[in-house]
């Protein structure tokens, strides 16, 4: 493989490769978490095997909310510091967050159908989560539509901060509103209300998903840096 002429492009490509490597390790960890959930975790007595979707749905929701929170924080920092790397990180985190949201919004209804008797209900938690998903799909569409880099970064930063405002409402919605959605079993003031075997599997799965988030965002951020280096190289 030939060495790129532009050092910035070379560094961006190396970062992308590192991100993909971390993602590959995270996928192995995800496979191990699936094995642990399916083979070595007890079946819940009232819900049966469908309860094991919990070990995918909760980590996906955690990663989506983490990703969108970091978009909001990076966006606010961008408006303050005007560092283009913050804007590119926000873009990377938003895209990965949308992907985790798709996992969350598909596994949720698959669990809900046998347990609630319906695929979907318009309660506060589900509706706010769907709004957050659409907001960040709009965020990515906005970025694709605006060609001036400064305008794109400024407009999308405002939208990213709006998304960050929604995140605590989503987490607290099960306390603030009457909702069908189960209440938190781990991220709450009191001790986790899960048997140890289930908590262990959940924590392993959360760790695998979080590592996957880190790997995917690193790769996606590296791609954005590489694209910027190529554009500035073309312009020179």
């Amino acid at each position: 493989m030939t060495e790129p002429l532009d050092p910035a492009l070379g560094r961006a490509r190396a970062l992308t490769r590192r991100g993909l490597g971390i993602s590959a390790v995270a996928l192995l960890a995800f496979a191990a978490a699936c094995g642990l959930a399916l083979g070595f975790t007890p079946v819940e007595a009232r819900q049966g095997l469908a309860q094991k979707i919990f070990y995918l749905h909760v980590p996906a929701a955690w990663c989506a909310l983490l990703a969108f929170s970091l978009v909001g924080i990076a966006s606010a920092l961008y408006l303050w510091l005007h560092d283009r790397r913050l804007d590119l990180f926000a873009e990377a985190s938003a895209e990965v967050g949308v992907m985790f949201s798709v996992v969350m919004l598909t596994t949720g209804p698959i669990w809900a159908k046998p347990i609630w008797g319906t695929w979907w209900t318009w309660d506060a938690r589900l509706t706010l989560t769907l709004f957050l998903f659409f907001l960040f799909v709009g965020y990515l569409a906005l970025r694709a539509a605006v060609h001036d880099p400064d305008e794109r970064a400024r407009f999308s930063a405002v939208l990213g901060i709006m998304g960050l405002v929604l995140v605590p409402f989503i987490h607290l919605s099960v306390y603030l509103f009457r909702t069908l959605h189960p209440q938190p079993v781990v991220l709450k003031p009191s001790a986790p209300s899960l048997p140890w075997e289930m908590l262990r599997t959940l924590l392993v799965s959360v760790a695998a998903f979080t590592l996957l988030y880190v790997g995917l965002v690193t790769a996606r951020y590296g791609l954005a840096l590489a694209q910027r280096a190529r554009e500035s190289g073309d312009a020179a």
Binding site: L9, A12, R13, T16, R17, G19, L20, S23, L27, F30, C34, L38, V43, E44, A45, R46, Q47, G48, L49, A50, Q51, K52, I53, L56, H57, A60, V96, M99, V102, V103, T106, T107, I110, W111, K113, P114, I115, L212, L216, A219, R220, G222, L223, A226, Q227, R230
Partner: protein, 34 residues
Amino acid sequence: MPPDTGGYMVAGYVVTTVILLVYVGSLWRRARRV
């Protein structure tokens, strides 16, 4: 005896795996182009 909801569990795991692999694959393809 727990209810028979194994089909939903399988669907959840298959859908999640497919979404993750498709996204990683798309990043991989984009990385090959830059």
